[in-house]
Symmetry: C2
Subunit: 500 residues, 2 copies
């Protein structure tokens, strides 16, 4: 392939869908599989997922979660034991019907989610209040047979995720757990992926099947659509009742446990890629980038030895300091080719060294997100590298936060709601009566929906976490107290948006 074909040819602004697909493929993150709905995650993409795993696993471990592994297949009769689960997932289950040349007596579902196979084991393992809380997590793939167009990491029939499943003595325990996991998801987005998120609950009619309450973090993409970043469900006693998860309390009374489940999928990678990347290719924050720094030495034949020696010294110092650094000393590729390639692949910071830098005991730093360059003394290189990596993170976060702040608007009636989303995308906050019918009106017109209802100040979820409800943008208040659609009295607000 020529150099031109290696680069991105589509425009993020003008054809975001094609641009996204091109970045994912040309940066070597993923490829489309021959079966619609499946992708192959290549090493550079999988390394990002391993980064997500490392962060979440350490936070999970600190907060009492243990990893386990449950079967990938679930008997049909187990799925049917919790009626909401079977209704919610039955239309999109992949069924294994044959083993070898024989038909199975009972079809097995390839897990779309694992409540129905984990709950019966919790029922066996939990006997006494001393067994609670029980907190399990698994990293695995799940399958949901949705007939939509494939979009790597956003919409695939098989996807990688983690699913946490916990059991508690009472409602307070379940609430605290639900919100703790939502906090950890928020932390992943805000402190690792440089993606600001809004938090709240899903409307009643859009809860996880069987859930008492579904909480969510939502991220706004540059094209004005919202991504459900992760969800954490307080399942109340619905699964505990269906699968008989009970325990003996201190007085030997039998009580029903309260359970939760919570999951984050590789969609987080989709949000990461789409938020920061540009027409030169992938852009990654240094927190998650497999390589944070690439050193590109620039030499002529007569300066090669000096420049390479200087570059190796820099690489050694950075590696010693714990920076993930790569020295690109390939022969047969000119510096311009290397610049383009590392830009395409999203390395956050490039350090250029040539004969001038060697002579002056300096280096040139170039930031991937905006191409800004900076002369840095060799002497203070390690400290400066860390400072520049922090600065790059802040830049990426601030840009995304600015996009979000500019795209939360209010509306007091239907025409305004429709017009604002139609024109600008983004979120529109309106008073809402709580009736699904009012969402349907909007959905039918412009395919926007209620993606989130902010926690109220007296919300149990927020109180459990000990947080103020009105942090950041979740606190935007529309005027009026009548539903924007039907005009009935409204005791809450809703965030409408088009959604991935």
């Amino acid at each position: 392939m020529g150099e031109q074909e290696l680069g991105i040819t589509e425009s993020k602004e003008h054809s975001p869908g094609d641009w996204y697909a091109e970045v994912v493929q040309k940066a070597g993150l993923a490829d489309y599989a021959p079966m619609g709905g499946f992708i192959v995650t290549r090493p550079r993409g999988y390394a990002l997922w391993e980064g997500v795993q490392d962060h979440l696993d350490s936070w999970f471990e600190e907060t009492g979660v243990e990893n386990a592994y449950f079967p990938m297949m679930i008997p049909e009769s187990f799925l049917e034991r919790e009626k909401d689960i079977v209704e919610g997932f039955d239309p999109e289950v992949a069924w294994v019907t044959h083993g070898g040349h024989d038909e199975l007596e009972e079809p097995l579902a390839v897990r779309p989610t694992s409540e129905s196979i984990i709950a019966p084991f919790m029922s066996q393992w939990i006997r006494s209040h001393r067994d609670l809380p029980m907190r399990l997590n698994q990293w695995c793939s799940v399958v949901r047979w949705e007939a939509t167009e494939t979009k790597p990491f956003f919409r695939t029939k098989e996807f990688l995720w983690q699913e946490g499943h916990t059991a508690h003595r009472d409602e307070d325990g379940a609430w605290t757990e639900t919100v703790r996991r939502l906090d950890q998801y928020e932390r992943l987005y805000e402190d690792v992926l440089a993606v600001p998120v809004l938090r709240g609950r899903k409307p009643e009619h859009d809860k996880f099947p069987g859930a008492h309450v579904t909480t969510t973090v939502e991220a706004l993409m540059p094209d004005g659509k919202s991504v459900q970043g992760a969800t954490s469900h307080n399942l109340g006693t619905s699964f505990a009742e269906a699968f008989d998860i009970t325990y003996a309390d201190e007085d030997e009374e039998t009580r029903t446990a309260h359970t939760t489940s919570w999951g984050l999928s590789w969609r987080a990678l989709g949000a990461l890629i789409m938020t920061h990347s540009d027409d030169q290719g992938l852009v990654l924050p240094p927190t998650i980038a497999p390589k944070q720094v690439v050193i590109v030495p620039i030499w002529q034949e007569d300066t090669k030895e000096d420049v390479l020696q200087y570059a190796s010294g820099i690489a050694a110092d950075l590696e010693e300091a714990g920076v993930r650094v790569h020295l690109d000393d390939r022969d047969g590729r000119n510096p311009g080719f290397k610049f383009n390639e590392w830009e395409l692949n999203g390395v956050p910071l490039r350090i250029e060294v040539g004969p001038n830098e060697v002579a002056d005991e300096e280096t040139t730093f170039v930031h991937r997100p905006d191409g800004s360059d900076h002369v840095v003394d060799r002497e203070s290189l390690v400290d400066e590298t860390n400072a520049h990596l922090d600065e790059i993170y802040e830049k990426l976060y601030e840009d995304a936060a600015e996009n979000l702040a500019e795209n939360v608007r209010t509306a007091a009636e239907t025409s305004e709601l429709l017009g604002t989303i139609g024109k600008h995308g983004g979120y529109v906050v309106t008073p809402w009566c709580g009736d699904e019918a009012c969402e349907t009106v909007i959905k039918d017109e412009i395919a926007a929906e209620i993606v989130m209802v902010p926690f109220a100040e007296d919300d149990r979820a927020e109180r459990a976490a000990g947080r103020a409800a009105d942090r950041d943008l979740s606190g935007v208040e529309p005027e009026g107290d009548h539903c924007a659609v039907c005009g009935d009295e409204a005791d809450r607000v809703a965030y409408f948006a088009k959604s991935y």
Copy 2:
């Protein structure tokens, strides 16, 4: 449950099958799923698997392997492209035939192994000799619908494993790779799991479908049966030809790549558990034990404060030194109960501290494998802990190595072969003509088979690794040079054994 039911009731010597199942369940490693052939891996079992992953991943990374993830489903037409694969796996494939309420146009196999879905992508990604070698690995679960009795970690329809897939310029590259991975598997068994292994190749008729050569490491279990510990295959050009994996060499000539694949499954955990554990429960080497040391303080009311303070100091010192330590300061459980529980769970070293130890500035060390106790000065505690952990590892390894050494015997004719395996189990080494029919005679009589043919001194596999062929027990030489079964001339020896 009463205390008695918590402990192991079966005998390793007299009913090894029931004993194994009891250890796995009572030590909290795994449980049986309701669908035959599936198990649930509980946190203590999964932690062992994470330990295996950590070791192998670091060795893979050092030797140029990158992790990736390929679809769990493979179209039937892809499986059919390499004829040996489809013949080898077709009888045991689980088929997905329906997505939601619709029948699929083409059935999808739940991957039994992934050559058939990885090779077509290698074909796309490899263009030039500069793209080689390409080394990919994935950690995933695979499904093989075998209708045998479930034995956790040994025989399950779904199992966890890693599968590596590589492509090389030529036969030498593929051989070097094949043997490098076999070396790493051997290292895992010998240096981490304390399980000595024999290495060699599988007979021609027992190779992996499509393989040029299948190499194996084999471990002898205490009941006299052999476990195939891991396999590494030189696939030659069979997959490269079926899936068109070619590259342009320096002269722009199109050449066919040589590929390899290699895998280690959670059967390694089965071998670990079965080799070392005893009638008190699980025994683990310190290298893989999630907790290496448990401190059990022994107090009366009036000494509680002093003893706990002393114990906490010890725990802090060990943690600081990087030892994985747990302080069991539970109220309401007496020391005897705690001893039994930690023995059942396989913690390698117990440190007991009571008022006497506090007064004398000492501690008592108890080794899990043999119950031996040792008084250790508080002052030299950290160094002594590391020394005792090493000693425990050596004990476990030496016991297993002794069992292996005592159970490799020779035989020169059929009756001797049958009699020796029938009486002692273990390995019987005989001259072998190479004909499958001679193995069949033995198989039909006593269900023993050829598990391994040692590498010959002039073996290409051994030369690639630069190792001597006659290391350890693989070098046992039977007398004579005629096949023990048919009497024809024999140019090799074979290791017969009953096998898991």
